[in-house]
Subunit: 506 residues, 2 copies
């Protein structure tokens, strides 16, 4: 091969082509999961948009069977809508989104989800997506037919119609025809996904119409949105040296001091001056001009600084009451416990773990329910930090036999909330095993385990006491007779007295 | 929020930024694995390049500790080199590569690997990569210092020096300074990765110099390259309707018939005409103008066509002899078996599974070694189609107790080769569970299991026979004495005769 040939082989690949060939990375490795992934991506976008705009979410999800292995998926919300000028990009171009750059809790983050659904649809059925949206009041209703130009990763607008909007409707309606397989009554299914979604989003109203006439409605059980999680700035301890370099280059601040104070959280004037002093840098110099060596010094100085943990109003946990309520709605158990840990930090990202246990009653085998930022995780359980933590807890200490997982009639629910969820794949089904995350999850589980143990051991004590009493009761008449002989007291009186003593004890 | 604000929030994300924030997807979730990933990406590129150019690969890998948690990684090869005009892009831009569009077996595919290593290096140490390359003879030696402009996903060339090349050196030398942790004597380590790489690439010569003075050399044991795998065209059965549509739009063919014959494998004139007839399409019409409906009809017609499986010279398996030899070099066992299945197809991609078992001898606990296209897979064992297949085999049938995995002193080696390996993440450590792949792997394991069973049961029969003979031998003198009494024959003769009979039987 000569130089020209060698050079010609080296080509650019569009990110859309990459995901077309690697569609299993996005959750499209088989028709059953593909159908679920399409629904999931649309619902996550809808819930995020409504919540962020301060609107109580109302979602309608409909699956129509249009061929042996084909479904029309319709997801409609009452959110703020997407501006028509940006709609084609937001839906039909990979790596476009509104959430990637923000340090704030949200369901979607990566700018891949809904474009992945459109790509899968056109790959398997070659039909355009129909997206309808309006911002309400003065905006008409926009109807788009979109496809993705895969080679360029650019949207192709096949049609854009405007319709009058007399009622001021706002929201988004997504219609996709996809290859898929519909299942219900199993864990990894659309109905189960929606059921679990309703549980952790009790302020949302969900309606589902399945392909087989099956339909179900989850009305909201809370009439108020949770406090909107705040956007925060990065914490100095979580910033790697390369990223610090990029932040310095592109900042608008005129002095290093100004940069440090304005671009990070938890950095006051005193801390910023201290960092400059430690790094032997002039706080008044322009931040854009630091050399690689100076950036490294600044990075080390920032790591050594004693700082408060990042602020936590960027997180929106469920809270213990809501976890317990959720479990009560899902399972008839004997005992419920819920633990909401206080927030912690991994690589500068605030996060929080919540845990609930439902025990006994009608529960059969052990089951684990995982959630991240109010989204149920139904796949890749084996590969998840939350699962690892469950396996690493020594459940015997809490009166529960185990063999990897607990071997008991119990359900564990774990909820991970963070400004940035480190998913193991773009399909967002498992959390990467960062040591800090596993540790915090174990602490949550251990606390829940202790509370469960109090119940289990009280119950066990009671059971033993009852057994003892039962045994004793059987011998009371005989005992009374002997005592009558010894004491001369009538045995009826003695029996009464002995029974009274037992009752007191029980 | 008003329309402008809503619109402004929607932004493009560069693919480099995406992977910076999601670096665990590329294999950089902790310092130990990160160091391994850097070495792995460089070695895969080197082996692919040399092999493809028909050069027996010679690799040198060196790790120098340059700080508490910092290493300089140097990987040098004797491959064809990379043309200087394309080098910055090939190394410092994501989604650029030479292998993505080809249907051919190779180690790397995605155009992410080495750029990921550069990104990790600059993120954790803020230092440029040093890449040295030459095409040999008339080309000078080019020395580049590169970084990635993460916001734009473009290379930044800090320096480019040309040096004389009197000896006509050709190859690539990569030098990166990265944050990492060095371990050895464990499975997930650089030395183990290189040891396993040497085993499945016996035509390569590898030299490794570790940070602690430890150095090791794997000279090549075979002086010839395996036949270069051929590039093939896609098979009609594996093409999805959306992709078919794209192929039709961008083909240079002037008729539909010409398109079908030239762009697919296993499509002769007869099959192509039959497909047109079934789809009710004129074979002489221009292929670029088909409507969505016509494309769907064509797609269905292609699926129904009876066609030969794709040609298989695109695959380069190890073969049974090399698998057995590899296992012999790694383990002192009692028995070795090797099975190389004939190729099969998933989603139009030819693939092949090979399996080896080493049993007994000095082997302790069960161990599984996984490989894909001659690359060892050291992480994510739990999430891999190969692992799933091992667990699904009923090992008891082959005389091996099991509990998920076999519970016996044995090592299973599995090698997956294909023109396209469906890895579960960009870090390329596990194969997605496509049903066809799991099934073929199970068949390979079952065949190996049967061969192993022959050995195990023969050994068991022998053991029993020996035990029986042992018992008998003890009673021979007594028996001989009684027989002497009965027959009058001297007992010494009888003993001799009985022993002779036993020897014949053993």
């Amino acid at each position: 091969m000569n130089e020209r040939e060698l050079a010609e082989r080296i080509k650019e690949i569009s990110v859309a082509e990459f995901f077309e060939k690697n569609r299993h990375l996005l959750g499209y490795e088989n028709p059953t999961r593909a159908l679920l992934t399409v629904v999931k991506e649309a619902c996550e976008n809808s819930l995020d948009a409504a919540e962020e705009a301060g609107i109580l979410p109302e979602l309608r999800v409909k699956l129509e069977q249009v061929g042996e292995d084909r479904f029309k998926v319709i997801v409609e919300d009452n959110g703020p809508g997407v501006p028509a000028s940006k709609l084609p990009q937001a839906f039909a171009k990979f790596l476009v989104g509104s959430k990637f750059y923000r340090y704030r809790q949200s369901r979607g983050i990566q700018g891949l989800g809904i474009s992945g659904a459109l790509l899968y649809s056109q790959l398997t059925t070659n039909q355009p997506a129909r997206i309808v949206s309006s911002l309400g009041r003065r905006d008409p209703i926009h109807e788009f037919e979109l496809m993705i130009d895969v080679t360029k990763n650019e949207p192709v607008v096949l049609s854009h119609r405007r319709r009058p909007n007399p009622d001021g409707w706002h929201g988004v309606r997504v219609e996709l025809v996809v290859e898929g397989r519909y299942v219900d009554k199993v864990f990894q299914s659309v109905p189960e996904y929606l059921r679990q979604t309703a549980i952790v989003n009790p302020f949302a109203s969900l309606r589902f119409q399945g392909p087989n006439g099956h339909s179900v409605e989850y009305p909201r059980s809370i009439k108020e949105l949770p406090p909107v999680p705040k956007e925060i700035k990065p914490h100095p301890h979580g910033v790697e040296v390369g990223l610090l370099g990029r932040m310095l280059k592109r900042t608008g601040a005129r002095t290093l001091l100004g940069f440090l104070i304005s671009e990070f959280c938890r950095m006051g004037r005193t801390s910023a001056l201290e960092a400059c002093r430690t790094a032997k840098l002039n706080p008044n110099q322009p931040p854009q001009k630091l050399s690689a060596e100076e950036i490294s010094r600044l990075h080390r100085a920032l790591q050594q600084l004693k700082l408060k943990a990042p602020p936590l109003d960027c997180l929106s946990p469920l809270g213990e009451r809501m976890i317990e309520e959720g479990l009560r709605r899902l399972f008839k158990a004997e005992k419920y416990v819920a633990v909401s840990r206080s927030p912690s930090v991994y690589r500068g990202n605030p996060f929080q773990v919540e845990c609930g246990i439902a025990y006994g009653g009608e529960i059969g085998e052990f089951q684990l329910l995982r959630f991240a930022n109010r989204v149920p995780l139904l796949y890749h359980q084996g590969d998840c930090a939350l699962t690892l933590a469950v396996k690493e807890v020594d459940w015997k200490r809490y009166g529960v036999p185990h063999d990897g997982f607990p071997q008991a009639p119990m359900v564990i629910m774990l909820h991970f909330v963070s400004v940035w969820v480190p998913f193991t794949t773009e399909g967002k089904q498992a959390i990467a095993c960062y040591p800090e995350i596993v540790r915090e999850t174990k602490l949550a589980l251990q606390e829940a385990g202790r509370r469960l143990f109090e119940y289990i051991s009280r119950k066990e004590r009671l059971r033993r006491a009852r057994a003892r009493i039962g045994l004793f009761e059987r011998y009371i008449p005989e005992l009374a007779e002997s005592l009558e002989k010894l004491t001369g007291k009538p045995k009826e009186e003695i029996i009464e007295r002995l029974k009274g003593m037992l009752d007191e004890e029980g």
